[in-house]
């Protein structure tokens, strides 16, 4: 009986992870893109206040917190749809995959937005952010360093591959961690040997 249960856990193939990772990843990728866009246009249309709590900063915090929960939810979905029994390592894979899909989805949506809908979005958001930095109460040297870094980043351009290379590891790792918590909360305990 125990052997059968263990076989069920071991028989999970890579393809079994995909539906949960894809559904949750796509939803969270879309939501994070929409939130980023919403706050982005708020930043573009707002007068520079010099406040650190600018719309774009809120966007970063909200998107970070929101997308981190995706790993946990992917495990929840997996336990509902595929198998109640999921090992810690399998949860980690699922979480990382979910994070990777979020990064891929948001990058492609952003590229679509910039290429098709609003080609000047990046420049507008950069101008608005720089205008806000310029009226911030901080040493001039810090302001200059921030603005210079932003300009360099934009001038250098960011290919889709570079964005993915940069976006996937951190998003994947954060979701991996929350997926581990998901395994603890939603999965049936499986005896493992370490």
């Amino acid at each position: 009986m125990i052997e059968e249960e263990n076989n069920e856990v071991h028989s999970i193939s890579f393809g079994d992870y995909i539906p949960s990772a894809a559904i949750v990843g796509a939803i969270f990728g879309l939501v994070s893109f929409v939130i980023g866009l919403f706050f982005g246009y708020q930043q573009i249309n707002a007068e520079p206040t010099g406040s650190f709590f600018s719309p774009i900063m809120f966007s970063g915090i909200v998107v970070c917190l929101l997308t981190s929960v995706a790993g946990l939810l992917a495990v929840w979905h997996f336990t509902k749809e595929v198998s109640q029994k999921i090992k810690l390592g399998q949860g980690a894979v699922l979480g990382f995959l979910t994070g990777a899909i979020i990064a891929v989805f948001s990058v492609f949506l952003s590229e679509f937005w910039i290429l098709v809908i609003d080609p000047e979005y990046s420049e507008k958001i950069l101008s608005a952010t720089i205008a806000n930095i310029e009226v911030m109460e901080m040493p001039e040297s810090q302001k200059d360093a921030m603005i210079e870094g932003m300009m360099e980043s934009l001038e250098g351009g960011q290919s889709i591959l570079r964005q993915l290379f940069i976006g996937i590891p951190v998003s994947g790792l954060l979701n991996l961690l929350t997926a581990l918590i998901g395994v603890k909360l939603f999965a049936e305990k499986v005896e493992e040997s370490f």
């Binding site: 650190f52 709590f53 774009i56 900063m57 970063g60 915090i61 998107v63 970070c64 810690l88 980690a92 901080m138 810090q142 360093a145 921030m146 210079e148 870094g149 932003m150 300009m151 360099e152 980043s153 250098g156 960011q158 940069i166 976006g167 590891p169 951190v170 998003s171 790792l173 954060l174 991996l176 961690l177 929350t178 581990l180 918590i181 395994v183 603890k184 305990k189 005896e191 493992e192 040997s193 370490f194």
Partner: protein
């Protein structure tokens, strides 16, 4: 996982240890720009350059690493399973209270308080799963 967390902490130190002229625009800065506001007034500095994440995020990363390293110790100490989940929940609530209190100017948090509270959250996150490493043997 341990290696990934070590790299996370290492890269979060920013461009200062890589001889960059600025962290913003450097690959370390780009790595974390999607998850951290990278406010120079709220960051620590390494070699006169701001780190790639602010003090709270750096605290979270350090906490994640320490929590992960502590798992064997917690297994030996046989810490109550659900205690750490409550510890995590409390850490989340305290972050929200701290952020909100600062936002509506009831108090002003500092780099040190953000580092400590972030560290608490990170530690609670990784340590909360320690019991999944427990075997019957």
């Amino acid at each position: 996982m341990l290696v990934a967390l070590c790299f996370l902490v290492l890269f979060s130190l920013g461009g200062g240890i890589w001889g960059a002229q600025s962290t913003i625009g450097h690959w370390t800065g780009e790595l974390f720009q999607g998850i951290c506001h990278q406010n120079p007034m709220r960051s620590y500095y390494v070699n006169d350059l701001q780190m790639a994440v602010n003090s709270r995020c750096f605290g979270v990363f350090i906490g994640l690493l320490i929590g992960w390293i502590s798992i064997p110790l917690m297994l030996r100490a046989k810490v109550k399973k659900n205690l750490l989940l409550w510890f995590l929940l409390l850490a989340v609530i305290v972050q929200i209270i701290d952020f909100a209190g600062n936002l509506i100017q009831i108090w002003e948090n500092s780099n040190l308080t953000r580092l400590i509270l972030g560290g608490w959250l990170g530690f609670a996150t990784t340590s909360s799963v320690y019991d999944l490493f427990q075997t019957n043997n």
